[in-house]
């Protein structure tokens, strides 16, 4: 089964923006057509953002949404931290490292993000980065929506 890691921005934009490729991805995830790699770090980020910007109730709903993803695998800190030494030198911002390490620990094939800064780091030669629009078009195989940065 195809495996992908979706950055925090995909979950947030997919939730907030009905007309977005990130929303199309959330719908694809719901179908269970591919395995979603999750990490404790990713979930903490998503929930923190929703707590701050949409309140506790919305954050709780997001928690339920994430834990109910039909085909997913959770990577915990004691697992992704095993990859830190290998990839630390390829990432300019150390706080991005848990996402990169979770991608490797989960053996993901795609890393979907709107974060262009991350995709321009040295790590780009080793990680298959793509925008939400590219994922919809290249992986899901149908036309994406024209949006800013392909979000």
């Amino acid at each position: 089964m195809l495996t992908a890691y979706f950055d925090t921005n995909v979950f947030i934009i997919g939730t907030l923006q009905p007309e977005s490729n990130s929303r199309l991805i959330l719908r694809e995830i719901k179908k269970g057509n591919f395995k979603v790699i999750l990490s404790d770090y990713l979930i903490d980020e998503i929930l923190d953002w929703f707590k701050i910007n949409r309140g506790k109730d919305f954050a709780s709903m997001m928690r339920l949404f994430i834990i109910s993803l039909p085909s997913s695998e959770m990577i915990n800190d004691f697992e992704w931290s095993l990859f830190i030494d290998d990839w630390q030198g390829f990432v300019a911002d150390i706080d991005d490292l848990p996402h990169i390490c979770s991608y490797f620990a989960g053996e993901a094939e795609y890393f979907v993000t709107a974060n262009r800064r991350l995709t321009e780091m040295k790590i780009k030669d080793h990680v298959n980065f793509m925008s939400a629009k590219e994922f919809i078009e290249k992986v899901s195989g149908y036309d994406g929506i024209d949006t800013v940065n392909g979000i």
Binding site: R23, I52, L69, D95, T147, I151
Partner: protein, 88 residues
């Protein structure tokens, strides 16, 4: 293992269909299929609720996306401080 045992009454044809999926190797056993199906249903209901709550949101422009990425970056930095103590 921490799990509940729930008795579910399934129509015979649905039960037979699940057995077929198990025999075909799609799922290890009936429990795995039912867990998958329940999660999928919960996920669908939640996503529908999320979609309803965000129905009137205006499209994000470049500045909105940048702001969002900066907000995430701020949270990420704070989170890393906590995680760094655990993983190093």
């Amino acid at each position: 293992m921490n799990s509940n045992i729930d008795l579910v009454r399934l129509p015979a044809k649905d039960s037979a269909m699940i057995d077929k999926f198990v025999q075909a190797g799609e799922f290890q056993n009936k429990s795995e299929f039912i867990t998958y199906a329940v999660k999928k249903a919960i996920n669908e209901i939640i996503l529908k609720e999320i979609e309803e709550k965000s129905r009137t949101t205006t499209p994000m422009d470049e500045k909105d996306v940048d702001n969002l990425l900066n907000e995430i970056k701020y949270i990420r930095k704070k989170l890393w401080e906590g995680y760094a103590h655990r993983v190093f």
